[in-house]
């Protein structure tokens, strides 16, 4: 009946307009570099800028370092809590939600204060920035890993590994990590997206990352920021698309288990 489908379709259209209109406006604006005609000049300017390339690569490297550290920290912790200390779960959830609650500016000032004097003078090392990013990635990483751990029967798999003579490291790296592949990829892509766009920590700690570059361009140019915004959007969509691509492969890998 046409009448019954009217309202849902109207809702979809209104929602789409709400999200897509600003996007379209930004895109349209980014095409206006050349007077009088549409062109991709602003994009060409951005991509030709050596600062764009440098800061982008710098942030990518930071993101990869963050992902590795975060994985090595979160996965064994989540695994241990899941297996041996389930009563600590609420504590872990609280801690990993703190980055949502505490603004990054508070985090970075705290870091500067603590690590700008002996015994740990780390303010001049990019390791501090990575550490800050690891903290920011907590919610996403922990949630992904926790969900993944719940989906596989961690206890039985661990005990099976133990009964066959494996120690904790072997179990973690040969059994747990491989079966959490999808969750880890999820967390990794989210972390990647966050680090790439992150501004506060990079600026306050004075590192040439992509976030500060975006802000700088925004202050000085008119059309390039719009182009950059569209490019960032595209990058995020690619990340999400890759997550979808990889998780499709995993549907066949769910464990078939007996009752219990």
């Amino acid at each position: 009946m046409k009448k019954q489908r009217f309202w849902p379709i109207l809702m979809i259209v209104l929602g789409a307009i709400y999200f897509l209109l600003p996007l379209y406006a930004t895109f349209e604006f980014s095409l206006r570099e050349r007077r009088g005609e549409y062109s991709f000049d602003s994009y060409a300017n951005v991509l030709a800028d050596s600062q764009f390339r440098d800061s982008f690569i710098y942030s990518v490297v930071l993101a990869l370092a963050t992902i590795v550290v975060s994985l090595l920290l979160i996965v064994p912790t989540a695994f241990w809590v899941h297996l041996k200390l389930p009563q600590l779960r609420p504590v872990m959830e609280f801690i990993t939600l703190l980055p949502f609650v505490i603004p990054p500016i508070v985090l970075v000032f705290g870091l500067i204060r603590i690590y700008s004097r002996p015994p740990f003078v780390l303010v001049s090392s990019p390791a501090l920035l990575v550490a800050g990013y690891v903290v920011l990635s907590f919610p996403y990483m922990y949630r992904s890993v926790d969900t993944g751990l719940r989906a596989i029967d961690v206890r039985s798999l661990t005990e099976a590994g133990q009964s066959l003579g494996a120690g904790w490291l072997t179990i973690l790296f040969r059994v747990i990590f491989p079966n959490l592949r999808i969750s880890l990829l999820n967390g990794a892509f989210l972390t990647f997206a966050i680090v790439l766009g992150e501004f506060t920590l990079a600026t306050m700690l004075n590192w040439p990352a992509f976030g500060p570059y975006l802000a700088l361009i925004g202050q000085n140019r008119a059309y390039e920021p719009a182009a950059l915004a569209i490019l960032s959007f595209g990058l995020t969509w690619i990340c999400i698309g890759l997550i979808q691509l990889f998780s499709r492969g995993s549907r066949e890998q769910t464990q078939l288990a007996g009752t219990r």
């Binding site: 596989i152 029967d153 039985s156 798999l157 005990e159 099976a160 590994g161 133990q162 009964s163 066959l164 003579g165 494996a166 120690g167 072997t170 040969r174 059994v175 491989p178 079966n179 592949r181 066949e252 890998q253 769910t254 464990q255 078939l256 288990a257 007996g258 009752t259 219990r260």
Partner: protein
Amino acid sequence: MSFLELENIRKSFGTSIAVELFNLQAEQGEFVSFLGSSGCGKTTTLRMIAGFEQPTAGEIKVGGQNITHQPPNKRQIGMVFQSYALFPNMTVGDNIGFGLKVAGKKAVEIKGRVDEMLRLVDLPAMGKRYPHQLSGGQQQRVALARAIAIEPRLLLLDEPLSALDAKIRVSLRNELRAIQRRLGITTIYVTHDQEEAMSLSDRIVVMSKGRIEQIGTPFEIYNYPATEFVASFVGTLNMLSAQVVNAAKGELILAGKTIFVPAPLNQPDGAKVTVALRPENLELGQGPEATHNTLSAKIVDVSFLGAVVRARLKLLDKTFAMDIFNSRNLALPEVGAETLVSFPKESALILAGTDA
């Protein structure tokens, strides 16, 4: 000295006692089942042998060596889980070879052993498949192969067949027993299915509420149950109320009729007791006075089950079952008919009385 010894094992979780006074000696190559309903402590005890739980008190010894506090990955014990617990990220072959790889064996040796195991569990072509591509029964066979591949001193199975359908369960359990016999591995098998326990085991440990009710061969458990729980848990058991007339002579009165059972009874005169009878001990017709007791009852139902004909009879207000072996010349009892049934005097089990 037995191969596996559990001495005074006790396990409590906080204030609740899961297992206590558990004592068992199992010989090399023996197949022992832990039988009981959910929550009786059988799985907890198995997990203590495996090392996944620590006993609160008591000792576990394997081959004379005290392993009570040894970590599970050092015990050389193979375990098969109810949920199979196959590693989803590895092929069947890698699953089976996992224990050997961890032990640092050479690749050639591992391949040889994996092929041997695949042949043993009758899955020779499945080495490259992944667990999710196999059926439940096949997965369980892979789990078994994986546990045996490391040549364990002890094999532990935790209700391995309960997730499978009935037909596969029966064929797989026979295969399991055949393999176990061939390899001579001491095996502990946890189950709540008494038919499974009886058909597989050399000995059964019947458990209830954390304690051992009886340890014995299937024959002993079934025919000479030590406690009321064992008697009613294993097999079908008819329970008829009676009263002791003369304990010294073994005289009871049941539904107004005097019957005799082996004397002396350890219940006092006048006590209310339950006379428990297995369906196969009952026969149609009047039995010889010297050896049998005879009762009169009404047939309320007859079921032809193939090899066995099961008749249900009513005595006063209590129904009980009688099993007759099938034969082509058998005259099936008529429903509604009043008939005599008899049972050998020593086949009656006298249990403490319960309200009828």
